[in-house]
């Protein structure tokens, strides 16, 4: 690895000041499970590595039913899985984080890092899209909020300016009878990069037996993760029977633009989008039904 300088700010202010001074030559580090590999391969050669893990706002999991979730960008995936509120109220986002790599990787890798690395196949991004996550970005010029589905702009590229950092995710509180789910297809049991990943969040009106809100996110089937708007809309106001779910699955396929690569053909991926959309919508709906009143 090339020689680096290591900075470890303990407050947001310190981090922002540092990035303002050295932004172009610096790269933020959370778990380092992408950055360290990239530096070894000389794909990235920052002069300064700014370790954000000492900043409290980036390490918090702050949740209440009324106010929703503030998830720090640098929380290791394993901590999300260990958190009872995360498992109960955001099982889809939690299972997405718990699918990243191995347990060793999850001790380090964070959802924030997963998003900022900008891989179209990132596991947590479809789940973030599904729960309507908003990303709080901070820089010397101030703060801005970016919707998860707008964060990535191309493979490995995001909306972050060189002097900006991602602080946290702001996720709405769970409505009664809502839940989420994430599934991916990989050829092995664990450790692979998603061939296709789909996340869904469903809210039900149990009395009317109808879906009142739905969001579907797709991963690994385009240059960025995708918010499948039409597929999501196809579920709203409807009873979630096989026919409705099938319409959403077809709309999700139409929203995807996969390529042939070593992990799969475009045709296979389109097929998987349909399969996984059906599965996660069904699973999220089941979980939503079971979600007791809060």
């Amino acid at each position: 690895m090339h020689a680096i300088n290591y900075e470890s700010p303990s407050t947001l202010d310190q981090a922002v000041k540092f990035m303002a001074a050295h932004g172009e030559k610096a790269r933020a580090m959370s778990g380092g499970s992408d950055l360290i590999i990239q530096m070894r391969a000389a794909v990235r050669r920052p002069e300064y590595v700014v370790d954000l893990k000492k900043i409290p706002e980036l390490r918090q999991i702050s949740f209440s039913v009324q106010h929703g979730l503030k998830l720090g960008a640098a929380v290791p995936a394993i901590e999300i899985h260990e958190n009872a509120d995360m498992r109960k109220y955001y099982p889809g986002l939690t299972e997405a984080a718990h699918l990243i790599g191995s347990l060793q990787i999850q001790s380090r890798a964070s959802v924030g890092g997963n998003l900022c690395n900008g891989s179209p196949a990132a596991d947590t991004i479809p789940a973030l899209i599904a729960v309507g996550a908003k990303c709080r970005v901070l820089g010397p010029k101030g703060e801005r909020i970016v919707a998860a589905e707008d964060f990535c702009t191309g493979p490995g590229r995001t909306v972050l300016a060189p002097d900006e950092i991602l602080v946290e995710f702001q996720i709405p509180g769970p409505a009664p009878h809502s839940s989420d789910a994430y599934q991916r297809f990989i050829p092995r049991n664990e450790m692979d990069i998603a061939v296709v990943g789909v996340g869904a969040s469903i809210t039900l009106d149990l009395g009317e037996d109808r879906c009142t809100a739905a969001r579907i996110g797709l991963g690994a089937v385009g240059p960025t993760p995708i918010f499948a708007k039409e597929a999501s809309a196809a579920l709203v106001g409807k009873k979630l029977d096989a026919g409705t779910i099938e319409k959403a699955a077809q709309a999700a396929i139409a929203a995807s633009s996969p390529i042939d690569d070593m992990r799969g053909t475009a045709e296979f991926r389109r097929h998987l989008v349909g399969v996984l959309t059906r599965r996660v919508v069904t699973l999220a709906a089941e979980r939503a039904r079971m979600a007791t009143s809060r």
């Binding site: 290591y6 360290i36 790599g101 191995s102 060793q104 990787i105 380090r108 450790m191």
Partner: protein, 162 residues
């Protein structure tokens, strides 16, 4: 060249101080500086798990930790697994079940297995396989590894119950 930093950490229960450049990984320092060569370099990309150590109770690929980050942390390596009295139950079971051949993956597997049993004393086979998913083995086909961990869990449980 970036300034070297002093890092103070606890390794296998002992306070250890070392000097390192920011670009050095924990794995490099363990092996080259501290001569704890039990942790192995297999891939340097966090895929094989041969470098697995336990940091603050969590299994971690030491190749993906910068050594400077170890400051103030509690690290357990394979060298700390055996007791003065003898091998850890896990190591004993690995021998009994022939859960190793060349042995290069074994330190990493043992550390992952130890971390698992510390958290989940009675894991199912599925939980064991999931916990060991980040440790690749080219020799054994994993079957004997899983049997050894199952057996170790049973033995440790009865010892606790006794």
């Amino acid at each position: 060249m970036a300034k070297k930093t002093v890092v103070e950490t606890t390794i296998n229960g002992e306070t250890v101080e070392f000097l390192c450049e920011p670009r050095e990984s924990l794995l490099e320092v363990l092996r080259d500086e501290l001569e704890l060569t039990g942790s192995k370099e297999g891939c340097l990309t966090g895929d094989c798990g041969a470098c697995t150590v336990v940091v603050d109770g969590r299994p971690t690929c030491s190749c993906l930790v910068l050594a400077v980050e170890a400051n103030g942390k509690k690290i357990d390596t394979i060298e700390g697994l055996a007791r003065p009295e003898g091998l850890h139950v896990l190591q004993q079971k690995f021998l009994e079940h022939a859960a190793l051949q060349c042995g290069i993956c074994t330190p990493g597997v043992l550390m992952s297995a130890k971390a698992l049993l510390d958290r989940t004393p009675n894991p199912t086979e599925a939980e064991i396989r999931y916990a060991l998913a980040g440790n690749l083995c080219r020799c054994t086909g994993y079957d004997k590894i899983v049997r050894a961990v199952v057996d170790a869990a049973k033995t440790l449980s009865s010892a606790r119950a006794a």
